[in-house]
Symmetry: C2
Subunit: 475 residues, 2 copies
Amino acid sequence: MDSISATRLASLVGDVARERPPLYTALAGRIRLLVGDGRLAVGVRLPAERDLAAAIGLSRATVTSAYGRLREDGWAAARQGSGTWTRLPAGPDPGAWMPGPVPAGVIDMAHAAPPAPPEVTAAFTAALADLPRFLPGHGYHPQGLPDLRARIADRYSLRGLPTTPEQVLVTAGALHAVTVALEVVCRRGDRVLVEHPSYPNVLDAISARGARRIPVAVNAADPDAVAADLHRAARQTGAKAAYVQVDFQNPTGMLLDEAQRSRLAVGLQQTDCIAVVDETLAELWLEQPTPTPFAAVARPDRVVTVGTMSKSFWGGLRTGWLRAEPDVIRRFMAVTARMQLSLPVLEQLASCHLLDAIDAVLPSHRARLREQRDHLATALRSQVPEWGVHVPSGGLVLWCQLPTDLSSSSLAAAGDAGGLRLAAGPRFGTGHAFDDRLRLPYTHPASVLEIAVARLAEIAADRRPRMEVADELVV
Amino acid sequence: MDSISATRLASLVGDVARERPPLYTALAGRIRLLVGDGRLAVGVRLPAERDLAAAIGLSRATVTSAYGRLREDGWAAARQGSGTWTRLPAGPDPGAWMPGPVPAGVIDMAHAAPPAPPEVTAAFTAALADLPRFLPGHGYHPQGLPDLRARIADRYSLRGLPTTPEQVLVTAGALHAVTVALEVVCRRGDRVLVEHPSYPNVLDAISARGARRIPVAVNAADPDAVAADLHRAARQTGAKAAYVQVDFQNPTGMLLDEAQRSRLAVGLQQTDCIAVVDETLAELWLEQPTPTPFAAVARPDRVVTVGTMSKSFWGGLRTGWLRAEPDVIRRFMAVTARMQLSLPVLEQLASCHLLDAIDAVLPSHRARLREQRDHLATALRSQVPEWGVHVPSGGLVLWCQLPTDLSSSSLAAAGDAGGLRLAAGPRFGTGHAFDDRLRLPYTHPASVLEIAVARLAEIAADRRPRMEVADELVV
């Protein structure tokens, strides 16, 4: 089985010594966070206590107590003669990077998933009326229902990217689409560029594929530089593929304009690097319509586009898709065939009706998000004025800069006890960067966001080291 | 990119020289079949013509013409200076091992997927009434809806295997469940036992995982020997896992009784081999109820059970599940989190209602299948009396033994032209075995099966080498 070295765990855990005592609780909290959000896998052997103590600069007794606490809470288990292993506790919330049930009274500010628009019910009602003509058949439609593929293609065409149904494969959401694309465009050991920070589940999916992630720093304020850096990294590393989000990048909110898209496309093509473009948030512009899709300015055989209905409509609807050249789509199908054969018929029929209603759904969805975004930004500026809050022109989240003495991991480790579920900044990176960052979604109503920010301010005030106390002790 | 050696392709292609002339058409048909059913991947470079000609015992001109034919039909493409590559033709049927649209007038006898029972519509209608209480939420339920997990657990308990909802993870069908289980129970390079023949998509999934398949021969008439052979193979190879179907094994129909299950469970445990038991067909007994589930006689931490609604109910409903110890279920969840996050809400609600109606659905489903099974067997005995037809006591297919001078690949290669979509026997194996076998599903109504068998008899008569003609030519 796997184990993790003391130095590696120490770097993931970060600067625990600066936390408030008791330090064993702080250390246990940091390790729990790593297991809970998936950065530290389940079933991994933790380092020997004395080794971790040395690597982290704490006493052995502190590490022993921390391991004890993890075992008590179900986040670790001891196996006789073979040390302490990570596990997940029983109960309704098994951790890992996914939205799930949160205890009553806790606000989920870790995940960005809006509630369903009213049109969802009508779409399923209409779908039910369509269902009878499918029931006599076997129900398998491996590429997706032709009607749905036609609508997805039409939407691209309308957005300025002419598309035929043969260029579309329906998937079980965007993440499934990326997983399928990775199987085809890269192999074990290949390098894959990722924006840094990026979407945690895709970072995991690239590792699971056995590919090597090459992080390229994102500065939302300077997309020109990001496009140039991606090009340079592709040239220097010979990366096979690049996973990019050019519309309100998650979590930074970065948007590439048409010229930047073009330059990025040309740059990647020069090195034969395939762009896997995740357009999950492309329809969620809040100021002005997003530029033409990336694929419109790229060489058709050098780009794969990922789309989904989960953010434009509802996460309970698992419809995503891949757009690529027909030849590539057929290779993707061979992968989905051995992964899960086909997708639910009724779900696809409902997706057709929702896409037909898109011009009714999106304006009010955008208006709601715009108001919530502004509300969250205002509340943060008032409650935690020392935080850096950049307001993106679309998407679902703010990517906040914390003051230097505040740790994102420390905030997240406070966890449900503070009435907030938070995602630690490092979850969006490939190492232990971004502990000075916190992603906050504005998918809740303003009244809930208000409470969330109040709690956040309270947790933050409570987690900042009190220098006076430290001074007294140091004497 | 990949390439395939001449000797390997020659062995996959089989004995083309015995086919009726023109042999280039026969050779093209065999290669098309390999690409179409997924045994030969897309994007693979075919051997140089002279090499293949030598390996297969045909003239180079024959191979040249065959490659030309494949290119004409869209199954191969030439790239200047780098040979001929496999591809899939454009059009509604992209091949690969999955049920898809077949041209009008062609009967799909390759896949075993029954039409929907009438209760499906009622279940979705009831589900729609449940939906409103989920719409205000984010729609993500990574382990599956609690109500659905409770019903799946109850069904196991009723079948003699006490189960709690914490032991259940909902998946997007059985194949998805197996893929997730493989990620956790084995690693690249590990050995995995498979019954031989077995379900093609799982054979592919094991290879895609990077694990090594160890085939163990199945003789449906002697399950005792199969259980003993699996045990022996586990001991000799140190296999990490075994993928087995003990209820009407697909395609052989083999059923293990309770004592055989027990012996197999104990045998695998002795070598620490984890049983991944696919119960896709367990509810489709046609004579007498299946024995207690395998997991009831196995050590709880040494068995993972896979279930699905696709065959007991309808393939257009993509609900499957994994059953294991809660600790293992949580590890499975970490995998689904990075593969596709969550499953459709409405689909799961409808699955709840169908499971509530299972005692109304299954008896008539079984009665229909029983009648169709007997009808198919009778028609075969009358139309192709020289074929061996073993009638299983459950499941969806007959696994027929062909006369020695008839090739399953040859029948399947006749393809849609003969009005039948057939799956070549070797698709169910790991090499080129089973060309003397043909799997025939009895999922169509009797009247359709009647026509299918008539066409089959015609194709078979047409494909058998005419010895008289050969004799004349040999002079």
